[in-house]
Symmetry: C2
């Protein structure tokens, strides 16, 4: 059934099991010659350490869990990819958990896998701050695109990004915008709105908020209708998926983008560059975020548990200007055409 054990190797190599164990987990504490011999024998026998036996005594599993709020969202792909690669490089295994936008499922799953993993990567967690703080107190946790006091996190910088976004819109002549908000329990939704509103105030632009909306293409229909209703000439959607849905509905309604209304999204997913018109969006180094999060997590696993500061990393976002933003012709008809 299962392969050779540490005993087989020990016997074959003429050493004690503890020596074999050390040869694998703590090579420095075994004599040069012994070590090579042991490893040699192990290789010959095809010995592979049993991770469960190992975990049982050492409480280390070489596994980390990545929990994403919605595996349906392509945005997470890049995060997952970065995390997987970094984990693999460190000989860690990545367990993938989909919270399906439900705080309840999220928590259930976290409990379920808690014993099998060394730590958690929580991407866009929908749980309340208190729950996250509590979890982080008992297990190593790194938050991604979510910030909670005292918990390490990697968040794509968006405050300045939102400012740039609003500035871009303002410079095109927009004087009124609407933010189509993401889910109520999305920290990002709140944080982005705050940044947008601040920038809008500063730049003399009127900003409204509508929502919350599920961050999906299909909820873009209702979101677009609501946005049009506000009379704003610029729409900032919570993410690219929603923005793409908005674009669709706008096309159906023969509202021209960007002539009649400008649309911008967040994340710069692969599809943002392909849709028509190509979407202006606030992108970020998502893959790198995934890597960084794993790095911090692994760090907190190896480093002594003494009070390291809960670090917060915020790699810069970048406003990618494409074709969905432009001068509103209705509002500023100094160009060629008239209003819609």
């Amino acid at each position: 059934m299962s392969g050779p054990t540490i005993y087989d190797v020990a016997r074959s190599a003429g050493v004690a099991t503890s020596t074999v164990s050390r040869a694998f987990t703590n090579p420095a504490r075994v004599g040069e010659a012994t070590r090579t011999r042991v490893l040699e024998v192990a290789r010959e026998l095809g010995y592979e350490p049993n991770p469960h036996a190992r975990a049982l005594t050492s409480n280390r599993t070489q596994t980390v869990a990545m929990v994403v709020s919605d595996i349906t969202n392509p945005h997470f792909f890049e995060l997952i990819r970065g995390a997987e690669m970094r984990a693999k490089a460190a000989e860690y295994t990545l367990v993938l958990v989909n919270a399906e936008e439900s705080p309840r499922i999220e928590q259930e799953q976290i409990r379920r896998v808690a014993r099998s993993v060394d730590g958690f990567l929580l991407a866009a967690s929908r749980q309340p701050d208190a729950d996250l703080a509590e979890l982080a107190a008992s297990r190593p946790v790194v938050l991604i695109n979510r910030q909670v006091r005292g918990v390490p996190s990697v968040v794509v910088e968006h405050s300045e990004g939102c400012r740039q976004m609003v500035a871009h819109l303002a410079s095109l002549g927009h004087t009124s915008l609407v933010y189509l908000a993401g889910p109520r329990n999305s920290w990002m939704a709140g944080s982005r709105w705050a940044a947008i509103r601040a920038a809008a105030t500063e730049l003399g632009v009127t900003a409204h908020r509508s929502g919350p909306y599920a961050p999906t293409v299909s909820s873009g229909g209702a979101a677009a209708d609501a946005a049009i209703g506000t009379g704003a000439s610029a729409i900032i959607a919570h993410n690219d998926l929603l923005a793409i849905g908005v674009l669709r509905r706008l096309a159906q309604r023969s509202v021209r983008v960007p002539d009649d209304v400008s649309v911008v999204g967040f994340d710069d997913i692969f599809a943002a560059d392909l849709c028509t018109p190509a979407l202006t969006t606030l992108g970020g180094p998502h893959e790198q975020v995934g890597r960084a999060a794993v790095e911090i997590l692994l760090d907190s696993l190896t480093t002594r548990q003494d009070r390291r500061p809960a670090l917060h990393v915020a790699p810069p976002s970048q406003l990618v200007i494409r074709d969905s933003t432009g001068t509103p012709l209705g509002a500023a008809p100094q160009r060629q055409g008239g209003a819609g």
Copy 2:
């Protein structure tokens, strides 16, 4: 550090540890009253079975690994999503492994996690048949979009799909097509080409093959150039990513799609519907494929190991006709415009 054990529960409930164990893993073999009491006590104490201790004796981990050839390809995300959901429903955990298009990495990673999982889902494996057969002989394996004699698999039906694709092209007036092949060690690439060639022969269409190409957007440039070189009026790309890359290059070169040349892809990824022109492609129920694969795997875990037939499931593909295919104006100028 870690929570209460089976001993704590046993003591509190006034039973033996074996009874507690049974209450969890084999409820039928414990008296009604005892069971409820044990479970009650366990809940009160916040007891959670330790999966490693459990795995150590039982050799079952409640975990399956999904290995994908390239996590970069959005196509896999539907597969992953389906698999994750089905696994979760069965209280199994999904481990995600990216083979990075390398048979070597694929094999290494499989070895690495072999002891930690109950079985493998191998999506678009790049390994030789022999290696897969060998692996399948020692561990439960389900292949996805790959077929190897004697190994259970779920493959989106594509033989008939390819035929429809070629028929669609032929009906539009195309008499010559080129298939831009995927990676050399991609089973799908070979299988699709065989089906395309057969259909082409049957329908009196000339078919060329070019490649292999990496199934990525960026290799679409060279692929497009080669395709144009063949003079074919229709291009069948190995997957949507490659097709999108082809579309890009064609646009750069001012080759009109579909007037000058038609383009079709495979997979019907999210972006296929968004690019310009929208891509005609052979889609499939990918999420369902992921689910089905997990189901078969779990089945082979629970069912006795006696010789079940290695089942092969092939859910139907569907030709999604969009705007990238049309009548070649150069070849059949019976419409309005002239050739390019």
